[in-house]
Symmetry: C2
Subunit: 497 residues, 2 copies
């Protein structure tokens, strides 16, 4: 894993090594410069993956041979011998627990160790943590918008940056609050619940009811099997009468696909409506098959739309389902879940919010330019201060050697961005944000399971005050430093002038 780094880090490493600085104690911090996606909070994710990579950090003989071929020929042999000895045994990592809410400018991961190793780990950790945190944050925003009851499913596999990008998207969407993934491999590897129904290609592979095979379905309560294509076709006539659409416009291949699917999965029948015309074909065909199933004691589980004006069509579909439910006296028809997929954005989700019961959302996997900056020594301890209502109201950075602030006691702090001024705050509760996860080459803190990380994320988000939780133009979340740290920063700044 070691050579997953940018070449400039190797050339810099050589410089450090020649200067005798390779083993100097160093520290790096990872934080967001701005809250991603226009909000204040982000979710920190990717920690477990980063720790795995630390444990495996090592240059193999082949890696070293390759580097020898790439670095200038004047590079000393002894440097390559040195590279071959490197590992992460002297590295210490502290971080917020995976899935925690973090804010811009507050380090959520700190790496301490020999300068050269810390620098080499920089890109690798960023690569693993950046994307993970962005996906988790994006998913959390969808969850906040959708509320706790709507089901969210990630179906980004075919648009991801290859298999790995897709798997990470499934994992970190789940951590951020999604319920399901369509990606079977993600389900198998990570235990994320997988869901899925029917594809356009399946529907298009049928052209007439004669192709349906087998044709019979037994009633749920038992009894004589029934020829479902015939039953569905008779229902199609009645449905088209009610909806006043010509039965010949209902595509028979689509009807055949629906019937075939219903016979295969009678308890899990969902209609994908937009292969042909939704109004004249998809919807009448769905209603016909669902009513035929209902006659045999089964309930369809929903419909899905994958194109067009999803909000507008959802409304029309709801009207038709209501009309069918009323006319044929099938009350549950009125509340059949309407799922939508394809280009679900926060904005469209906001529009639909009242309309929907299930949303299959593919998160927008935006990579923002928010990234880390490396800083040198003076590592900090980070506290989160809570008010009497239990909401965090400030993150406070202190020097490691300072005593921990106490609950109920007044603190004098400098809020970042308000230079020169001090503020006084009295926290009701004080939380130390970071734990030490890696030391002496080993992971030293038990890592939670994926569902545990996911719950932690929801708890972490739920503690936020509504003003900080807002998805757009949130109230800025204050980040402060202690007086001692403020003095140190001022001194450093002056020294660098």
């Amino acid at each position: 894993m070691a050579p997953l780094a940018d070449l400039y880090q190797l050339t810099a490493a050589y410089g450090q090594w020649r200067a005798g600085r390779a083993a100097l104690p160093a520290a790096a911090e990872l934080f967001f410069r701005r809250g991603p996606f226009g909000g204040a909070p982000a979710l920190a994710a990717g920690l477990a993956q980063g720790l795995r990579c630390l444990r495996a950090f090592r240059f193999s003989a082949a890696d070293v041979a390759y580097l020898r071929s790439v670095l200038p020929s004047t590079t000393e042999d002894a440097f390559f011998d040195y590279l071959a000895t490197l590992d992460a045994s002297e590295v210490t990592v502290s971080a917020v627990p995976e899935g925690s809410v973090v804010f811009a400018r507050v380090p959520f991961l700190q790496v301490k160790g020999p300068l050269l190793v810390v620098q080499l780990l920089e890109t690798t950790l960023l690569c693993l943590v950046n994307y993970a945190s962005l996906v988790a944050t994006n998913a959390a925003r969808f969850r906040l918008l959708a509320g706790p009851d709507v089901k969210l499913m990630e179906i980004g596999l075919r648009r991801a940056q290859g298999p790995d990008g897709a798997l990470s998207a499934s994992k970190y969407s789940y951590i951020g609050g999604f319920d399901y993934t369509s990606n079977i491999l993600a389900g198998k590897l990570y235990g994320i619940p997988v869901r899925g129904t029917v594809a356009h290609s399946f529907i298009m592979s049928f052209s007439s009811l004669e192709e349906v095979q087998p044709r019979e379905l037994a009633p749920l309560a038992g009894g004589q099997p029934v020829d479902l294509p015939t039953l569905a076709e008779s229902w199609l006539g009645r449905v088209c009468d009610l909806l006043q659409t010509p039965p010949q416009k209902a595509n028979r291949g689509e009807l055949a696909a629906f019937v075939s699917y219903a016979i295969t999965f009678p308890r899990d029948f969902q209609g994908l409506l937009d292969t042909y015309c939704v109004r004249r074909s998809g919807l009448p065909n769905f209603c016909a098959v669902a009513l035929a199933l209902q006659q045999l004691g089964y309930r369809a589980i929903g419909v899905r739309l994958d194109s067009g004006d999803l909000a507008q069509q959802s409304k029309e579909i709801r009207q038709v389902l209501r009309a069918c439910g009323a006319h044929f006296q099938v009350p549950w028809f009125e509340t059949i879940p309407i799922a939508v997929s394809n280009d679900i954005s926060e904005q469209s989700l906001e529009e639909f919010q009242r309309e929907l019961v299930e949303v299959n959302g593919s998160p927008c996997l935006k990579l923002t330019e928010d990234e880390e900056k490396m800083t040198i020594p003076g590592t900090k301890t980070i506290y989160r201060l809570y008010d009497a209502a239990g909401h965090p109201f400030m993150d406070l950075m202190a020097l490691e050697e300072e005593p921990s602030p106490s609950a109920g006691q007044e603190l004098v702090v400098h809020v970042l961005g308000q230079f020169g001024e001090t503020s006084k705050v009295v926290p009701t509760t004080v939380e130390t944000l970071h734990r030490t996860y890696f030391r002496d080459g080993q992971v030293c803190e038990p890592l939670p399971s994926l569902p545990e990380v996911r719950s932690h994320a929801q708890v972490s988000l739920s503690l936020l005050s509504p003003a900080h939780r807002q998805l757009h133009q949130p109230q800025p979340y204050p980040v402060a430093v202690t007086e001692k740290l403020h003095h140190l920063l001022t001194k450093l700044r002056q020294a660098r002038q």
Copy 2:
């Protein structure tokens, strides 16, 4: 690799299997619905990766056991037994050679085989081909903008969708026409030239010239080693005089880092200018070290900017370099390459084009919604028709059984989007676009090396007429079907009404 698929494809597969349709002959085609990034041509990429995955297509016992736990409990045992027997031995894949120019609506990859296998391969192939083609296309657009001489380097590792996404970005940027990557692992795995210089973190790790170690550098021509920090500091005074900036504003840590780097890599010294103030610190420090090196016979290779208004700063830097070159009588100083990185877009590249000699561009890894659609049998042969000047002027789809069109003979075709009308064309040359790459479970066509694919892409692009090559609002590229195929499509459309 088999379970890298969406669950709905497995449920559909079960339906097909129960209906006795699993082994029906089927075909799927991959194409873009629209040209990506607002242009007409795209580069087809990802073929080699897709073929590798085909060869390995198989459900392991563990995969089958997992699927058993996920599919409804009513799913028949025999279906899982059937899954365990599946492989790609009956699949045939034809495609355009990797790196070829392709246009919207023209299939660039066709998969034929048993319906169930073809459907299961859909997502996997899309996942591998979509992203690859988009990255290659994006890179090709940067190359077209930058012209053949500017060096383009991909440095997207830390922002990619994990290690795999980053490696793919390196590979397909290279295919599209980039020169280098910063990603060492990509260099090692794929043989892509790697480049890199110095990082902000390296510069920030120094605070004074006392830290420089070792301090001496021998002249290129041999002779007594010189104390470079002292020499550089004396040059700094002269440079600051010339530029009329106060020497105390030139950060000494930055100077130390530059000197240290120059001693380590005297033939490869590049200054990263924006760690502190470019004008008062980065630039004077760079000039001082470069002039000290020049005195010892070495030439600095360039400067790099990584933040701020890159275009404006580039101009100012060029002025300063010219002034230094003239004043200190070092003519090559005027043409020192200025590299820029950070958020390089097509637009900013267009602005800089005259300014720059090297561009370290991280491609915008946009995923568009352009995607495939699955179609059923009636596979096509695709021809590219060339005019007398050697430019392709039309892609023509024909039924497989039709005779190939002949060069110099008039063809009657239907251009897509002009329904009902026929056009007559006389191609000077006719090229069959697809080759068969996979048959009987084996790759049956030699796969070119990465540099060969890269050259093919540049040749393929260079054949385009300027009107089709335009990056924005290109002249629409006509895609046509033969009369026979047109009749078939019309019949199918009527049958589906």
